[in-house]
Symmetry: C4
Subunit: 227 residues, 4 copies
C-alpha cells in the first residue's frame, strides 16, 4: 500500500494551497501616487492593514496546508466522496485572497465589520469542510491506512469537533473589534499548528520519549531501518 | 507497470487545473468606491452574478479534474497523440476564467446572451476535447492499463458520447434565460460527478457489494493486500 | 536508476510551464465600456489580435513542454550545470506572457514591428536555451540514461541545431508582416511537435512496425511486461 | 528510506517557488499610452528598471530554489518544526514580487533608497529563514538522511552562517547607490550558485576526480549501478 494511492489528490491540493498563498501578494500594491510631501516610507507604513491581513491569511493557509498534510498521512485510499469533500475544502482555500483584500481595504473605515464578517465566515466554512474531509475518510475507518496511529486519529477527530466553534468566536469578536478578530485568527492558527505534537505528549504520556523524531517516521514504521 | 508512466502528464495537468481554479478568484473585485449611502454589505450583495459565475466555473473545473483523474486511472501509457489531445483539453480549461468574467460582467445587462453563448461554447469545446483524449487512449485499448476494469472503461465511453450534446442544450437554454443556463451547467456538473459510481452499481449489479470502497483499490487490485 | 532522479527538476519545470500557460488568460480582458451602438459580440470580435496571440503563445508553450518532457525521457541525472541551463530556459518561458500581451496590444497599429521583434526574439532565446539544456545533458552522454535510445538522442541533437535559425526566419518575416510572422510561429510549433515520431519512422525504417505504441514504453523497456 | 518521505514538502515548496517566479512577469506592463512622437521601442527601453528588477529577482529565486533542492537532498524526514521553518521561508519567497515591483517603480526617483531597503531587507529575512530550515534539520543530524555526505553537510552549515551578513552588505550599499545594490544582489546569487561544487573540490581535494558527475548520484550511491 504505497503513498502513491492518494498522491494525485495531494499533489492537486498542494497546487491549490501554493497558488492561493502566492496570489495573496497580488493585493500588496506599490504606492504609485504619493501625496504632496509624503515619502515612500510613509506611504508604505500607511498600508499596514494590508500587511496584517496578508500575514494572517498566509499563516492561516500555511497551517491549513500543514493540517491537510497531517490528515493525508493517515488516509491511504480515495473515493468520490473524499474527492468532493476535498474539492469543497479547496473552494474555501481558493476564496481566501478575496476576504483578505476586503479586510485590507476596509480595516479602520466604515464597512470594516462587514469585511470581518466575510473574512471570519470564510474560515468557519473552511473549518466545516475540514470536518467533512476527515469524516469522509475516518467514518468506520473507511479510507484510513492500515498502519495508522489510532491515538493520532482519535486526537484529530477530537480537535476538529470544536474547530468551527472557535472560528465562530473570532467572528463574534469581529463585531466588537476587527483588529482583535484578526488577532484571534492568528491565535487559532497557532492553536491548530500545535495540537498534534501536544496530543502525542498527552496521549502517549509515558511513551512520549520513545516517539520517533518525525511524524512521517511515526506513520510508516515499516519503511524505516531500525537505526 | 507503475503509476509513474503517465505521472508527468498528470502532474502537469493538475497544475493547470489548480491554477485555473485559483485564478477565478481574481475576478472577485473588492468594491472600492461605494455610492452615496450604500453600505459595503449592499455593494457585496450587488455582486451576486460574480459569485454565481465563480461557483459554477469552480464546480465545473473541479468535476472536470475529477473526471480527468478517473480517465487516467485507466490510462497506463502516453504517446504524442495523447499529449496533444490533453494539451487541447487544457487550453479549454485555461480559458474558463475569461468567459466566467464575461458572464459575471454582463449577467442581467444587454450582451448577456452573447456572454452565455461564449460561456457554454467553451464548455462544449472542453467536452469535445475530453472525447478526444479518451478516444486517443481507448481506441483499440491503445494506451490503457493491462489491469483496467472493462466495465468502467465501457461506461466512460458511453457517458462521454453524449457529453457535448448536453452542453449544447445548456447553450440553447442560454438564448431564453442566461441564469437558467448557468443552472443547467451546475446540473451537468452534478451529472458528470455521479456516473462512475452509479454505473458501477448498475453494471456490476450482483457484484456491487464486493466492490472495494475505493476506486483506486478497484483499479490496482494487485497492489493491495488481501485484507 | 529510477525516474525519480530528475523528478524534482521536472516537477518544478512543469509548474512553471503550467503557470505561464495559465497566466496568458489574464491578458484576455472583458470589454467593459462598449461604444455607443456597439454590441458585446462586436467588441469581442474586435479583440481578435488578443485571441491570435493567446493561441499562438499557448501552442508554443505547450509544444515546448512536450519537448521538455521528451528531453527528460532521456536524461537520468542532474547536476548544477543542468539546473542553471534549465533555469535559464524557464526564464524564457516565464517571459512569454509579456511579448504576447505586447503583440496583442500593438498588432495592426504603429509599433507592431517592434512588438513582433520582441515576440520572436523571446522565442529565439528560448530555442537557444533548449540547446543549452540538451548540450549540458548530452555532451559525452554526461547525464543521459543508460537505457536511452541512441537514435532518438541523435535525432534531438540534429533537430535542435537548426531550431534557433527557424525562429530567426520568423523574426525576419516580422519586418514584412506581423500576422505572417505569427503564422510562421504556429507552423514552427507544428514542426517541433512532429519530429520525434517522424524521425522514429525514418531512423528505424524497417523496424518501425516493431516500435511500441508509446514513447514511454520505448524509453523504459525493462519496466514493461512482455505482453 | 525513500525520497518520498519529504516528497510532499518539496512538491509544495516547488509550487510556491514556481508561482512566485512566474508572477514576476505580471509587473512587466505593456506600455499603453505612448507620448507624442514616442515610439514603442523607446517606451520599452524606458522601462529598463523593470527588466533589471525582474532579472535580479528571477535569478535570486532560481538560486534559492537550487539551494532548497540541495538542502532537501540531505534531508530525509520531516517534523512540525521543519514544516513551519519551511513555511516561513516560503513566506519570504512569496513576498519577492512586491519589493521587486517597488524597486522597478522607484529606481532613479525619490524613494529609491526606501525601495532598496525593503528589497534587501526581504532577502536578509529569506537568508535567515534558510538558516532556520537548515538548523531545524541538521542540529544533531535530527532529520538528515542516513547516507548523507558529511562534508557537503558541513559545507552548507559553514556557507549559510555568513549568508545573511552578505545581504546586510547589499542593504548598506543601497544607501549609497540602489543600482549598485542590485548588482551586489546579482553577485550574491552567483556566489550562492557556486559553493557546493567549489566546496566539493576544496573539501575533497585529492578525491575530486572520483566524485560522480551528478549530485544526485553522490547523494544516493546505493541506487546506482556500478557502471
Amino acid at each position: 500500500m504505497s503513498a502513491e494511492e492518494t498522491g494525485r489528490v495531494e499533489a492537486f491540493s498542494d497546487g491549490v494551497f501554493a497558488i492561493a498563498m502566492t496570489l495573496l501578494v497580488l493585493d500588496m500594491k506599490v504606492p504609485r501616487d504619493l501625496a504632496q510631501g509624503q515619502t515612500l516610507a510613509q506611504a508604505l507604513a500607511g498600508q499596514w492593514p494590508t500587511y496584517l491581513a496578508f500575514v494572517t491569511s498566509y499563516a492561516t493557509i500555511l497551517i491549513m496546508w500543514v493540517n491537510h498534510h497531517r490528515l493525508f498521512t493517515h488516509i491511504g485510499r480515495w473515493d468520490d466522496r473524499l474527492l468532493f469533500a476535498n474539492g469543497l475544502l479547496l473552494l474555501g482555500i481558493v476564496l481566501v485572497p478575496f476576504p483578505t483584500a476586503l479586510v485590507a481595504e476596509y480595516l479602520g473605515r466604515a464597512g470594516q465589520t462587514t469585511a470581518a464578517l466575510v473574512y471570519n465566515g470564510t474560515f468557519i466554512v473552511i473549518a466545516l469542510c475540514f470536518n467533512l474531509v476527515w469524516k469522509s475518510a475516518s467514518t468506520n475507518d473507511r479510507l484510513l491506512r492500515a498502519d495508522r496511529n489510532p491515538d493520532a486519529v482519535r486526537h484529530i477527530t477530537d480537535s476538529y469537533r470544536y474547530g468551527p466553534l472557535f472560528y465562530v468566536v473570532a467572528l463574534v469578536v469581529g463585531f466588537v473589534s476587527v483588529t482583535a478578530s484578526l488577532v484571534v485568527n492568528c491565535a487559532l492558527a497557532v492553536y491548530f499548528a500545535l495540537p498534534s505534537r501536544t496530543a502525542a505528549v498527552i496521549g502517549h504520556a509515558g511513551k512520549a520519549h520513545q516517539l520517533p523524531a518525525s511524524h512521517q517516521g511515526q506513520a510508516r514504521p515499516s519503511d524505516r531501518p531500525p537505526g
